[in-house]
């Protein structure tokens, strides 16, 4: 594929679909997180590709696409932090839950 906008869009669409597929079929919570990361990266790539190839209109100069990607990375970082906090707290409770089930069974 030659170095042009449509090929970039194809790559980012592939990323999007693979990410969605991961989210839909993964059993593991952290696997779903990875899927979401893929989709976010696909969107980021799209933004940068658009800002590179399309000629700038008056309000947006060359870099507005890249600003968007910068924010995407920041938001993704916050997202992973919160998601892992919840996953780990569920995971630690999950072990404690097992213990409780066991207790109820006996009780």
């Amino acid at each position: 594929m030659q170095y042009s906008l449509p090929s970039f869009l194809i790559v980012s669409s592939l990323l999007f679909c693979l990410g969605m597929y991961t989210v839909l079929t993964r059993r593991n919570a952290i696997g779903i997180l990875m899927g979401i990361e893929l989709v976010l990266n696909g969107a980021g790539l799209n933004f940068v590709a658009f800002s590179r190839f399309l000629e700038p209109s008056q309000t947006t100069n060359l870099l507005s696409g890249q600003i968007f990607t910068l924010f995407i990375i920041a938001v993704a970082a916050a997202e992973v932090a919160v998601a892992l906090a919840i996953v780990l707290s569920l995971y630690s409770r999950m072990k404690s839950i097992d213990v409780e089930d066991f207790k109820n069974l006996r009780g």
């Binding site: 170095y3 059993r27 790539l45």
Partner: protein
């Protein structure tokens, strides 16, 4: 020449993706995500967005991926985390993504993009991004700072609560 590099980076991005989606072993998936992110960073640099490319490497791979791998390691010993909202199996997922892929590919190729006639030589962007960030995009910058603050406090709060085993 650029086409060759371009194709190399594309392969670098897409091939590991299949492992992330399909591989049964979660650790394999995490490391293949690493390779994909490197591929994307390369694509960014190829697109003349050098600042973003570097940021991608540092923040995304250095920070987020380390966190994900840390998470994977932590939960490795126990059984799988069951999630009760699992959509009905792989077939449904495959079909849905296939449809979306077709729609996206169609739209990507079909619409005629007003491609710029002359592609400007990519110059250093970090300075320009800096003044844009504090100039035109001040509001999102502020909100993003509050977002990171809230995420920070929230993550600590939830994690600390579970460690104490309430």
């Amino acid at each position: 020449m650029t086409d060759l590099i371009f194709n190399v980076f594309i392969l670098l991005t897409i091939i590991p993706c299949f492992w992330v989606a399909l591989s049964s072993n979660i650790v394999h998936a995490a490391f293949s995500l690493l390779i994909t992110l490197f591929g994307i960073a390369g694509l960014y640099v190829l697109l003349g967005a050098d600042f973003i490319g570097v940021i991608q490497v540092i923040v995304y791979i250095g920070g987020i991926l380390v966190l994900i791998i840390f998470g994977v390691m932590m939960t490795q010993r126990g059984k799988l985390l069951p999630l009760s909202i699992q959509l009905p199996g792989k077939l449904f997922g495959a079909v849905l993504t296939g449809v979306i892929l077709a729609a996206l590919l169609l739209s990507a190729t079909r619409t005629l993009w007003p491609v710029a006639a002359v592609l400007g030589e990519p110059q250093l962007t970090s300075a320009a991004i800096g003044d844009l960030l504090l100039g035109k995009y001040l509001i999102p910058f502020e909100i993003a700072s509050v977002l990171l603050l809230a995420a920070l406090i929230g993550a600590v709060l939830i994690a600390r609560r579970s460690v104490r085993g309430e």
